[in-house]
């Protein structure tokens, strides 16, 4: 099998050869450049482009890296103080929009928002905390929806289905009032395994499986063992 065609791109003034027409985040990652992401993860088919944490400059214009594929002679700016600050500011926005009480969260230590915040060296949010009120939905059979922690990434609403291929989560409302809701009918039929899958898909602690959580001891949780900022 022949290897895919490689094309030259420039990142922060350095030249790299990367496969043509592959996801930009993935291309950069293959060159050892880790772009922060929340809604995107390796291996997904279509990007969601919702969180904007992966903003880079492409040919001089800010764009979400996850929404682009590599093209020839792409000129990318990534590691500049302005861009690092832009990406960090989005994480900070999420911290004030929701109510992220890490000390009491089941997902702490396994939470992508938290891990990216750490990697971007967030000590606090520059924006005023809003303390918005969000209802927690305990009515599911298997799943608790903790909306205070939701980052509106749409992973669950766009990518998750039950065994019959039916949607379990939906996005309702508009603007700041958008929220995820559970489809009671399809949620009922979830196996424990499937419910766990939903919890794992959620980058934060918004989707919880009843009775699960706080399983891994402090110090051994995912991002404690492998912080995002450690170069692999």
């Amino acid at each position: 099998m022949s290897s895919p065609k490689k094309i030259p791109i420039t990142v922060d003034g350095k030249k790299y050869d990367v496969p043509k027409n592959i996801n930009l985040v993935e291309a950069l990652s293959s060159q050892g450049i880790r772009v922060p992401t929340l809604c995107w993860y390796k291996g997904m088919d279509d990007c969601l482009g919702t969180c904007r944490v992966c903003t880079v400059n492409v040919n001089g214009r800010p764009s979400a890296a996850c929404t682009l594929n590599t093209t020839e002679e792409m000129k990318i700016e990534f590691d500049t103080s302005e861009l690092n600050d832009l990406r960090k500011s989005i994480i900070e926005l999420l911290f004030v929009e929701g109510n992220h009480y890490c000390p009491s969260c089941e997902k702490s230590g396994d939470c992508l928002l938290q891990a990216e915040a750490q990697a971007l060296e967030m000590t606090h949010s520059r924006f005023p905390y809003e303390f918005n009120h969000y209802e927690i939905d305990y009515s599911g059979e298997m799943i608790i929806l903790e909306r205070n922690r939701c980052v509106h990434c749409k992973r669950c609403t766009e990518l998750f289905t039950n065994d019959d291929g039916e949607k379990v989560f939906s996005f309702i409302g508009k603007g700041k009032d958008t929220q995820v809701v559970i489809n009671k009918e399809t949620e009922k039929s979830l196996s424990k395994h499937k419910a766990q899958e939903a919890m794992d898909l959620c980058p934060v602690g918004a989707i919880l499986v009843k009775g699960e959580g706080f399983k891994t001891p402090y110090g051994e949780r995912k991002f404690e063992k492998e912080p995002l900022w450690i170069k692999k």
């Binding site: 904007r52 800010p62 979400a64 004030v96 996005f171 508009k174």
Partner: protein
Amino acid sequence: MHKLDLIIQKEGNSQDRLIPILWEIQKDIGCISLDTQTDLSKKLNLSPAEIQEVVSFYHFFSEEYRGKHQIYIDSSIIADFHDRNQIKTTFENELKINTGSVTPCGTFGLFETSCIGMSDQSPAVLIDFIPVPSLTVEKVKIILNSLKNGIKLEEIILSLGLGDGANSSNYIQSNINNNIVKKGHFLFKKWSKGEAISIASQMSPENIIQVISDSGLKGRGGAGFPTGLKWKLAKEVPSDKKYIVCNADEGEPGTFKDRVLLTEFIGLLLEGMIIASKAVGASKGYIYLRGEYSYLKNHIERQILDFKESGFINSFPIEVFLGAGAYICGEESALLESLEGKRGEPRIKPPFPVEQGLFGCPTVVNNVETFVLAAQIIRFGHESFSSLGTESSRGIRLLSISGDVEKPGIYEYEWGVSISEILRDCKAIEPTFVQVGGPSGTMISNKEFDRKISHDDLPTGGSFMVFSKKRSLFDILSNFMDFFVDESCGNCTPCRAGNVILRDLLTKVKTGKARPSDLNKIKDWGNIVSKTSRCGLGMTSPNPLLTSLKSMPEYFENAITNKDENFLDFDIEQATAEYKEFHNE
């Protein structure tokens, strides 16, 4: 439910018919309750949640009952400055309810909505989705009393006196006036039905595209993408099915020129669309008409029928599709999502609509004015257009002028006209600020009135709002920020959360609580939202704040009285009031 079956029988049961179906239910029953949604979901083979996703997205759809007569008050800044509050209070007093609620008997519901495209005849309301402009306290009382006495809205409108031009025709019958103040020499050349189409029928698609390209026509929605190139790109994508979509979702506050074009130039618009369909090879056309203009639907459909009878559109059916109250649907990819019966959230680009648009097929989305101009260009040749305007901005531009002027209305100008000339023409009253291009455009001060309307100085989608010296800059900016917070679709972080933060920061300045460092925050935070947002809404929503801070820093500096950065304003009395109240103190 028998009614639902009838509606579905009429509209069809595929997802792309969802919004027309929901419209019928909303108008018929006054709400789309969760039970109705469940019933509907079974009939459409969707999950109830999928219906709820759509219902909860659009302003004019509601799960709760909105009353037999649904009244929406225009909340634009222009209306604010034309005694909107007095009108609102009159409605509230007469109906004995607060805005945002329904009378106990369920006869009237009173709500607010973003600009309804009547800034030249403010204040205005929508009553049962029919606009009633130029309201006075007296008129409100007459209308409500008549409705209470069971008189039909159509009769009330007749008694108030019909508007000019086609507004008084059988198919519109509205109180609205066109207010065409300045007729230029291009757009207003007399229309002769079918002329543009017959010229185009002698041309090859390549030829048509060449003429449009040579004319230098750029999209009139605001972004200014070259129209010829857009058509060319769509033509080059091989596909059995292609679409032409007219964006008649004129949502930018202060704009109303498309309303007038749809009223008076609908024939030219259809010709422009038909010509585009020939150039691109499209088989179907849609006019995405904003819900606020639903009163024009019959009129447009009548013209379509007329064109059909004249044999102009044999193989290119054109359908009028009604939006349901969402500014974001003016963004072309959000509009396409909406046409497909979904939430109007902007798509990720690329792919662009010319490659993968409606139902995945190549689609040209152009503004109303763009199609009208294209038809005129075909009639009079590309030079008739390209010889007008400036190097970067060819041809003419319609402006919707409103605010503190003696002659609000529609003005045709060549690009390159200066602000001061426009202000003279419309007889502006002590002009102090002008918002060019609506809330997403540029705010300029009276020191900059020598600037020009053009793509390289002051680009505009047509909105031109003039504010006199008695207007407060911060009132204007607050209205705009409220608008963006309400209209953000919620899809991406910076626009959803960032606009709220920017609004709060503005409130801080407005209420005298800001410190000097807050002005830097406006710049920094505005920059964050505009650089990282997913679509044009978030990319431009900080504009009014950023441009007014740049052009009028003194207004902001004067609003800051306390320069002590160490101690921020904190009202301990207010913060402990709840506690004292709890203890009955």
